[in-house]
Symmetry: D2
């Protein structure tokens, strides 16, 4: 209780802003953090919106101008949960003001913006980006197992992020369909599976991909037919720096899949299989002679990553919001200047360069290096 406080300005109060507010509160109670996170101001596009949301979320101050919040000398970290177009200006301003920055993914809407943000962070101010699914204790286990050679040399990573919220012809044209807002399945959700591949297997050297738009026209909320220029799904072959190959896919028209972030990693001595649809499990195969080989379904428990902070008993399961809480822990640790599992702006930029390479490969028709 005598821990120093980390004063946070939260920018944005939509679904993700609320998730941030809840996660900061939960992280403070769940973990023994080096700094006690305190969201002291909520900024949104206008003061009434910000004030109402702040009241609901128990945040003491509100602002209709994010610049004001950043200018506040008491603020240590800026958390960005705005529309994607605003990520870059806010983040750069915050970094220039000497704040730590915790930004939702995608980092920005163009590679140029992401590079500018990463350059701004080169000053050394801590950054963190919200790749929530990487913070899963079972993904931590997967990473450990691979690092320790339990599955031998990795030979393949085949992964997908599949959802179906745009599968219907009736799904309306919305901001996710705008190319200049980082729209499209590849940018919106494909970044998760790219980040996962890099997190677990390493750098991607080359990609050959293809985009597909199932519905070239969608109707917007105003009843206007709008041309869709972004992808509904993406498929790519990838070559990792270590020579292994595999596939990456992303789709928001994968009927029936609600959170289908799934992969299988093959190695010379074993394999790992995972789906976010049952994210408290990891399946592990270890090669060897004998009549009892097979994939073992490992059930999340306190022996895995940060699970124990939520529950002392195996099998009880953590939820999506708990993953966000672990992510916030990493962001706070980064802000405190400590070693942290947080993904930095540079990490996020590397992910977006892969996505961009897939996009270029689609246009140009062959292998492209990120």
């Amino acid at each position: 209780m005598t821990r120093p406080v980390l004063n946070i300005a939260l920018i944005g109060s939509g679904f993700m802003g609320r998730a941030h507010a809840l996660a900061f509160a939960a992280a403070d109670r769940t973990f023994d953090l080096p700094l006690s996170p305190r969201v002291t101001v909520l900024a949104d596009r206008d003061l009434p919106t910000a004030t109402a949301a702040a009241a609901l979320l128990g945040i003491p101050n509100a602002s209709g101008d994010w610049r004001e919040a950043i200018a506040d000398a008491s603020i240590d970290m800026v958390a960005i949960a705005t529309p994607n177009l605003l990520h870059a200006p806010i983040a750069i301003a915050a970094l220039e003001a000497g704040k730590a920055v915790y930004c939702e993914k995608p980092l920005a809407t163009t590679i140029a913006e992401s590079e500018a943000m990463t350059a701004a962070a080169a000053s050394g101010r801590p950054t963190a980006v919200g790749f929530t699914y990487l913070y899963n204790p079972m993904i931590a286990l997967a990473r450990e197992l691979i690092a320790e050679g339990e599955i031998g040399e990795v030979t393949a990573f085949r992964g997908i992020h599949a959802e179906d919220f745009m599968a219907s012809a009736d799904a309306p044209f919305n901001w996710r369909c705008e190319p200049d807002q980082a729209g499209g399945a590849l940018a919106d959700i494909g970044s998760h599976i790219i980040a996962m591949a890099k997190h677990l297997v390493g750098d991607i050297a080359s990609v050959s991909g293809r985009l597909y738009t199932a519905y070239p026209v969608r109707r917007d909320a105003q009843g206007n037919d709008r041309a869709v220029t972004v992808d509904d799904q993406m498929d790519a072959v990838v070559a990792f720096a270590n020579g292994a190959t595999g596939t990456l896919a992303a789709s928001w028209i994968a009927s029936g899949r609600k959170m289908g972030l799934a992969f299988e990693i093959s190695g010379t001595k074993g394999s790992i299989s995972f789906t976010q649809e049952q994210f408290n499990e990891l399946k592990l195969y270890r090669s060897g002679p004998g009549r009892t080989n097979g994939f073992t379904t490992i059930c999340a428990g306190p022996e895995h990553g940060d699970y124990g902070a939520f529950c002392p008993a195996s099998g009880h399961q953590i939820g999506y919001n708990d993953l966000k809480t672990i992510e916030v822990k990493a962001a706070v640790e980064a802000a405190a200047g400590l070693p942290s599992a947080a993904k930095s702006f540079a990490d996020a930029l590397a992910v977006e360069k892969v996505a961009d390479a897939i996009r270029r490969s689609h246009r140009e028709g062959g292998w492209v290096r990120p």
Copy 2:
């Protein structure tokens, strides 16, 4: 934010006390509750213990005497997370002091105590008992489907609560092995599957059961061999009031099961299958002609119970602590005098009477009515 406050005295600061504190905080942020729950005092067996825990959990006051906390006129509800032996005296004192009471399961260590507690609640003060697993949105869905006749008349309920934390001969003798502390697998975890059966199918008219103790002697933490007189597992045939039959089982020596609260309900027109090990799913079979019949795996989403309060998108999954948060919501609603999904002391007494009947059946050797 102008909602009236529900002042709570929390008694007990172990694992379950902490879970309560976190759940009250989370419920207040997650739901639009009729009263804003505020844990204002934490009582434990002595002041230093209580003070330390209160500091950790952000509770403003601490007390070394639960009687003092109950005597405080500002307190509206007493939350009991103590060892089982203390449930009855605290709950009865709190009810007599006019407080609402929210008590962990099991209600008490004997039927007589549970009856006394239920009698004390007859005054009309709201009560709630922590049958966490009943608050799962997918269980809410199961209940709706059954009530609406989607699976026809229920013909069978076969369920188990299986864990393995006592499966090893080396698992030490602890308080859970003490019969006068509601020890044994039947009392400790069997109550969950009994409560589930009653929640979904209705009253149990008769039982024939058998207890089994795999390890008649266990060593305690002090290195002494202690005779074990409680059950390691229980198996029973049950007859429901509506004539349907089935089985109930409980085991804490079910090697490999970490949270194996599982059941299948058969009906004349369909079936429902569930396991807490994947509790964001429910499997539903609907009878009918055709080549595409089968069990459908329904993935939890905002269309199910309280899921949407945690996440607006399907498939992201809620965790165990979120179930506790929903349970707290019900307790707060009950305390506000509103219709609520909370299970009352009377409900919990009915569950314990079934457990007691199984125990008597084991001793007496035949069918016993709860």
Copy 3:
């Protein structure tokens, strides 16, 4: 090709008779049997029926009288696939004539008949009974693992045989509903799960069970309403001779279950889980410290039982008819006087005594010894 021939009279040409004929032919090609099985005569209730079926199945001779077939001195083994009522007279006559006998389950329609059949086999003539599911290579593996102590001491067996072919109110009254033809779910399919429990865990010392009839009246094919006096489902608690407990259930009204012969065996050091719905798999849990424990899904392969006779590669899967082929192999080996996995009449009688004890328990209301 110079192996001696085993001349077989097959009695009955319905579904099961055809399955026998196919299995004898397949076994001869699949295995290196000590005797080459040759079905030389098919007997059925009248000559035209027998002649037509023999032609279809490639059997050289036909008879309208099973007594004639048995009287034939060239016949070495009689295979019985008739309605259950005829099992006893045919089997006894065949044994008295010195033939080996291979009989479908259930052995007979009453305990008295089964005892008479078993007595007739006491002469030493080989007998075999068709408990097809016991011949699964994965069940052979389960038995080995248990025998070798891989899961420690068995503490529980919980099993069910669930199907749904009578789940609808419209399912007609047929011979399976006739009590004097071994009708009812317990007799018809419950025998499989009882046989499995005995095969894997050992003798059952005592049972307490309950029968349930969902539809007291069903309409027969002639449109007449008929009173149903047999059970639609059965549930029982069992105590094994070794002290372990568990549950057994059988149901032909378990909506959605097509071949739901499933069980979980818990032991002090591990567990085994199985369902016939995926019968080329066995799930094994071995206790132990560490972060990678869990149930391992073992995929059937040539290292398991007789799988390799069908396919040299793992994972390709064998089918129901292949199980029947393995069963026939055991029957032929028994007929040759060799050690064999075949279940004898005495084994089948022991199974039926358990079923009978459950029936008596239902009537009498308590624990009954088989």
Copy 4:
């Protein structure tokens, strides 16, 4: 029994030759075929080998020269189960001799050979190729569902054929590693998933793929280190003629996968998911509003394809050899000049052209048309 006979010369008596012999016998008993298949001669590389195998398989004649068998005027169909190098000369000679030809996959070892074989079949003689997995009743169901629009327009096919028989560094260099014997994972098993994609979704317009060799050197049975020039795994992005995209992969180093022929097909109104590891099941998702949507696990039964010929009851499961029996049925129907599900030489050539395009894409680095 008065059906005309189809006299067959079987060439090759290894694993696959034996599988053919068993499947012809089984098909004759299982189905009501237009012609009764009779393997009258078995040819192999020398007379002693052929004679021994013929004796074991119950085939009346043997030959040490396949040309002799083809020259026999009584032969109606030639079944080819030899090493891949011999497929072309035997098939072409047989077609020229006016025989129907049933050939194992791959059709040949080069596109040129396959084209020559297909040209030889242009005379109109019936041909059939052994793509066993396409004959699965659940694949028949998938095809029906797609054709009837149950999942809307297909937007993606993502599939893999993964096994692990070469995953170990110790797996020896064998004929499968020889490029001139159609070696490599793509040729050996990748053809199955390509055939499946074409069978269910249609023509593949373009591919971009990559091969990977995990072990550039393997030791052969004689202890010599041999350079491996074929692929251990293949990954490709594909564009279908209808515009949909997806991925194809093949691997024989996919540790833990024994028969991992798996795919998911997404459509605008639903999805289908399948794995050969549980090939008696198909998972179907149909879009629509409501709280009970999800993937339905359909269990194979007599309402699906040819399942009912093997078993009249759902859920009992057919095995790999039964799939082969259905394949033989199609070959016999083709040989009889009837409409048939058999895949012709032209179909097999089209599959191999896709594989060849992937190989060229790997070399050339971009998109290639088959």
